[in-house]
């Protein structure tokens, strides 16, 4: 079995995952990052997107896929921590809600015009809605 490292995914509302992971792939502000065990100390901000991880559960490896909102990833040689506002498993996604959020955020972005901060805020919402739809397989 491949090497594994303790991995925790924490949201303000709950600890979403706490276990062993062989690989964690998250969407950083500079692009996707894949973290393997024994990574050098590393800290980055995350964009909303698909969080994927190979986690070990009762002796087998399982693929974990979650729609993650904005957050942070901290990798240490013996530990990976992700902080996110929300992380949703495929069965937790409300598809109609995600579609409605996507449409609302796109309108918001159009209305933002030259206001860069509002444009960026809307982009975050669009990314999170897209991630939720992607994780739900739509």
């Amino acid at each position: 079995m491949a090497n594994a490292v303790p991995f925790t995914l924490i949201t303000p509302l709950s600890v979403k995952f706490d276990g062993q992971a062989e690989l964690v792939i998250a969407v950083g502000t500079e692009g996707e990052v894949g973290i393997l065990p024994s990574h050098a100390p590393y800290l980055t901000a995350l964009r909303p997107g698909l969080l994927r991880a190979n986690v070990q559960e009762s002796g087998t490896t399982r693929r974990l896929e979650l729609a993650c909102s904005e957050g942070f990833l901290q990798a240490l040689p013996g530990k990976i921590t992700i902080l996110a506002d929300a992380a949703l498993a495929p069965d937790e996604v409300d598809i109609a809600q995600a579609r409605a959020d996507l449409a609302a955020a796109q309108d918001e972005q159009k209305a933002a015009g030259g206001d860069l901060a509002a444009h960026a805020r809307a982009q975050v919402k669009i990314d999170f809605a897209n991630a939720r739809l992607a994780v739900a397989g739509v």
Binding site: T8, I10, T11, P12, L13, S14, V15, G28, T29, E30, V33, A40, P41, Y42, L43, T44, A45, E70, F72, Q74, T81, L83, D85
Partner: protein, 284 residues
Amino acid sequence: MPSVRDLRDRIRSLKNTQQITKAMKQVAAAKIRRAEALQKQSRPYADAIGAMLRDLIANVGSIDHPFMKGGRGGAPGGVILMTADKGLAGSFNSNLIRAAEIHARENADLAWYAIGIKARNALRRQSRETLQFWPLAQGVMFDSAQELAHRVTDDFTEGRISSITLVSPKLVNMMTQRPEVRQIVPIAAEQTEKKPAQGSVEFEPSPEFVLGRLLPKYLEFTLYSAMLETNASFYAAQLVAMNNATDNAKKLIDENTVEMNKARQAAITKEILEIVGGAEALAG
């Protein structure tokens, strides 16, 4: 002396009150468990974000973020007043409002944000201008905290307020909740005391960028956990208040029952005396 019927009515009404206060006490006891569970669930996040912040600050040379510097002079200080939405919790809400008033007396120029219906109403009564208001509803608490954080961040960076102060209850234990006034922005230097960097941590894209992202998140979370604490404190205060009310109702019921028995006995004695007196008059 009140009649037997008056006393009986009074006892009945007291018993109804007692039933209500007892029910509210049980509801508060159930809700406090839920509020405490929410608080407990947020603790891992608090620990993790605190640790990340410390790591970052240890690794950043100069901290160039608006939150770490004093606000623009001349602008009013921003105050967030957090109370519950409802009353019937003893002096819980009024203690918080008084703490805010004392703060207002010491600092002349202030702008207000209200969390909780009682806070909004108090500020309105004192005819202070409230910039924005959110209820302390449990279901959407995290969303409200985020909105509040965005609003105060925007106001702070655009110079409409010069600092952010939070007035909220601290849950010392189940019996004691104390109002607490603390400044959360600019972040005080001692909160972020530098400790030697632990080896080289790589930041992507740069420590300053990540810190710029982390500080607003930290503020968001600070406000969220303050709201959770307000919620838990409210139910703790209500539990105590309703417990006292139930005890007081019981005491009053007992006193009135004794009174009623006396009145009934007096009426019976009087009736017997009348009958005896009447019989003697007839015999005589």
